[in-house]
Amino acid sequence: MKTLAELQAIRDRMKDSVTMRSGSGSIRAVVGMATCGIAAGARPVLAALVEEVSALGLGEKVTVTQTGCIGLCRYEPIVEVYEADKEKVTYVKMTAEKARRVAKEHLQGGKVVTEYTIGAVEK
């Protein structure tokens, strides 16, 4: 159980940094959260991404969002990474652990985790 005082402390801490925040985010990580994604385990994948992006201090660079059905239900949970001037990367059959690795290596490090991409899984 958290207290209201803790919430007020968050507010006071955030007030200064809020102008920097609100993601001008050049990278977008999108998690499929329709029935198919949810049933396949997208909720912990999204939670892990949000947590890891915050823990790695990538909040300004990376925006994590949800979308509906991507149309590839058998590959859910799916995470798509969009970055300006780069080809979209589609990660499939994701788990929370895989999402944390993608956050570190791709979103932070800029290196695509090829083995989790749809191209590698389809082979």
Partner: protein, 176 residues
Amino acid sequence: MKELSLNILDVAKNSVKAGADRVLIRIEEKDGWRTLSIIDNGCGMSPEFLANVTDPFTTTRTTRPVGMGLPLLKLAAEQTGGDLQIESSVVPPTGTTVRARFRMDHLDCVPVGDYAGSVVTLIQGSPEIDFRFEYLRPEGDIVLDTAEIRAVLGPEIPLDTPDVLMWIEGNLKPEQ
């Protein structure tokens, strides 16, 4: 769906899609029944759409003509001897109420599961909408209303700020 919380996450997204700005999610456990209510002030459904809404081949999605959200919730309720009711209206625009009842002592009654995770996911996905979550149970009620959180945070700090989401998740977990 392995837990009721996943149905909640899935079906409450329909309220978001219906343009609701306020969504009430209530789980009530009483007299051997668990009743889930999801009540929104969204655009509602036409009588024609409502009549077929638990048919898996009725959906608003455009990627393919199958919508499993409400059919799965209906199945989860009916397999315990419970039922699913939906009330909705476009004119007058009274929004939509989805109510599913589960017999808690039935072998096939799925657990509530990680409701905190589902509520946080809903808020992360739609920080501009107000969600009220009520889990009314004999061992103590758990209630969270984002309108109250918003009032403390003020207009500058969105609800999807990671620290705020973590606070919400912690707040939803009962005291150990």
